[in-house]
């Protein structure tokens, strides 16, 4: 009776093995059987024979000999790194085929892990460096930081009226703020106005220069300079100048 039941159990297990080989076993059963296969050499040999039967049916060459590939690969893989933490389950850990990685492979593992860790850190570092360089470059270009008025430089916190600044100063549309006693924190922050070309450079002088020297410069260089002006500040270009007429003739897309 017990033998009969054992036989039935073996048949059911072998049937599952056949279905797993064909990829037709439900996922949960597949996981359980994979675990069983890990510790059951006889079952693995049967798995091998299922593969061989298929190859023989398909009339493939060298059917009998190819299993030595598995044997050779298995011996070589035994010298390789074990992925994960190597404790997929207790069965795998106790399996005779589960090899312990040698010192060389352990070194490989450690260096691979180090590379995995350092790669994103290096990327972030480079990105941060580029960002810092950009900020420094912008600061140098604009001059004193308009975002921040600190105790260290009280003279920069002067609020200029629009009449006084024209289009030359970045601190616009700001209300005066009373200064609090210094505690290391800046007194106040100024939220910059939405991007304005006026904060870059006054193009009026350049426009005047170009208009004044238009008769001495070549048509191409004049056009290039005027295009730069138009792109920077269209209002700064005098509408009634000769240069404007030249630029329009040469650059139909200009506003």
């Amino acid at each position: 009776m017990t033998d009969e039941r054992q036989n039935e159990s073996h048949l059911e297990r072998d049937s599952q093995l056949s279905a797993m080989f064909d990829g037709e076993l439900p996922g949960a059963e597949c996981e359980l059987l994979a675990r069983r296969l890990t510790r059951d050499e006889a079952l693995r040999a049967q798995w091998s024979r299922f593969s061989m039967i298929g190859a023989a049916l398909r009339n493939e060459r060298g059917v009998a000999l190819h299993d030595r590939i598995a044997w050779r690969v298995s011996s070589m893989v035994a010298q390789e790194v074990t992925y994960g933490d190597g404790t997929v389950d207790s069965a795998a850990a106790t399996s005779t085929n589960t090899a312990v990685a040698g010192p060389a492979s352990a070194r490989v593992s450690a260096s691979a892990r180090w590379a995995r860790f350092t790669r994103p850190v290096a990327g972030i570092g480079i990105a941060a460096g580029v960002a810092a360089m950009s900020i420094m470059w912008l600061r140098a270009d604009v001059g004193p930081d308009p975002m921040l008025a600190s105790n260290a430089a009280p003279e920069t916190s002067v609020v200029l009226t629009p009449e006084a600044t024209g289009s030359t100063v970045a601190l616009n549309d700001t209300a005066p703020v009373t200064r609090a006693p210094s505690n290391g924190e800046p007194d106040f922050y100024v939220t910059p106005a939405p991007s304005s070309s006026a904060s870059i450079a006054p193009p009026a002088r350049l426009a005047n220069y170009v208009v004044a020297h238009s008769e001495y410069s070549g048509p191409l260089s004049r056009r290039m300079a005027l295009l730069g002006l138009v792109a920077t500040d269209p209002d700064a270009v005098p509408a009634d100048s000769d240069a404007d007429a030249d630029a329009d003739a040469g650059a139909p897309d200009a506003p």
Binding site: S15, S18, A19, M20, F21, D22, G23, E24, L25, P26, G27, C30, E31, A34, L37, T38, E41, A42, R44, A45, Q46, W47, S48, R49, F50, S51, M52, I53, G54, A55, A56, L57, R58, E60, R61, G62, V63, A64, L65, H66, D67, R68, I69, A70, W71, R72, V73, S74, M76, V77, A78, E80, T82, Y83, D85, T87, V88, D89, A92, T98
Partner: protein
């Protein structure tokens, strides 16, 4: 579950540290990989070496395998690249001019390697296995024979076989298993100790 998902279960086990699961993948696909490599090299011994190298490469690259494609598709690409690289390096390697073709033994050895890709022992064993499998198939009841042939030769899924044979999928699973079991029994009778250890016999 599909073949891809079933293989993925094994792949994930390898990624979690179970090397035996990789052995199962090798045992499952070694025949296909060697057959594939034999399209590039004629010498079976060389094909086995290339297949072995391809499997080792696959093992090393397995942490990067995310399952976007089927394991065999991925393995297929590795095997082809390995075979091509092997051919390229062979072309670059210097030709041996020190072979003494007047020596009958050496001359015979070279000719054997060039003209007879399978070793006699391997060919005989393969032929024997093929005969056992074919005779076992012939002895099977018709429904078992049809089920195993549709699966192994035509590569149909259980569902497609069920539709073709007008029976439930469970019946197909049972028929394929019984067919394999019968063939396996014949093989075990002939080769005591199982064919999982053919390297010892050869």
């Amino acid at each position: 579950m599909t073949v891809e998902e079933s293989d993925l279960v094994l792949v994930k086990r390898v990624q979690r540290g179970d090397k035996t699961a990789f052995d199962l993948l090798v045992r499952k696909y070694q025949h296909k990989v060697v057959k594939l490599v034999l399209r590039y090299v004629r010498n079976p011994a060389e094909a086995e070496d290339i297949a072995q190298e391809a499997f080792i490469k696959a093992y090393r690259a397995l942490p990067q395998f995310r399952g976007d494609s089927a394991f065999y598709t991925w393995m297929y690409r590795i095997a082809i690249n390995t075979a091509k690289n092997s051919l390229a390096s062979r072309d670059r390697s210097p030709i041996r001019y020190d072979l003494d073709l007047n020596d009958p033994e050496e001359s015979h050895s070279v000719q054997t390697k060039l003209q007879d890709p399978d070793t006699p022992e391997g060919m005989a064993l393969t032929e024997e296995i093929r005969q056992i499998v074919n005779s076992a198939i012939d002895a099977l009841p018709e429904e078992l024979k049809t089920a195993i042939v549709l699966r192994e030769l035509d590569g149909l899924s259980y569902e497609d076989i069920a539709a073709a044979m007008e029976c439930p999928v469970g019946t197909v699973r049972s028929r394929i298993f019984r067919a394999r079991e019968a063939i396996d029994k014949r093989l075990r009778e002939v080769f005591e100790g199982g064919l999982g250890r053919t390297e010892e016999m050869v």
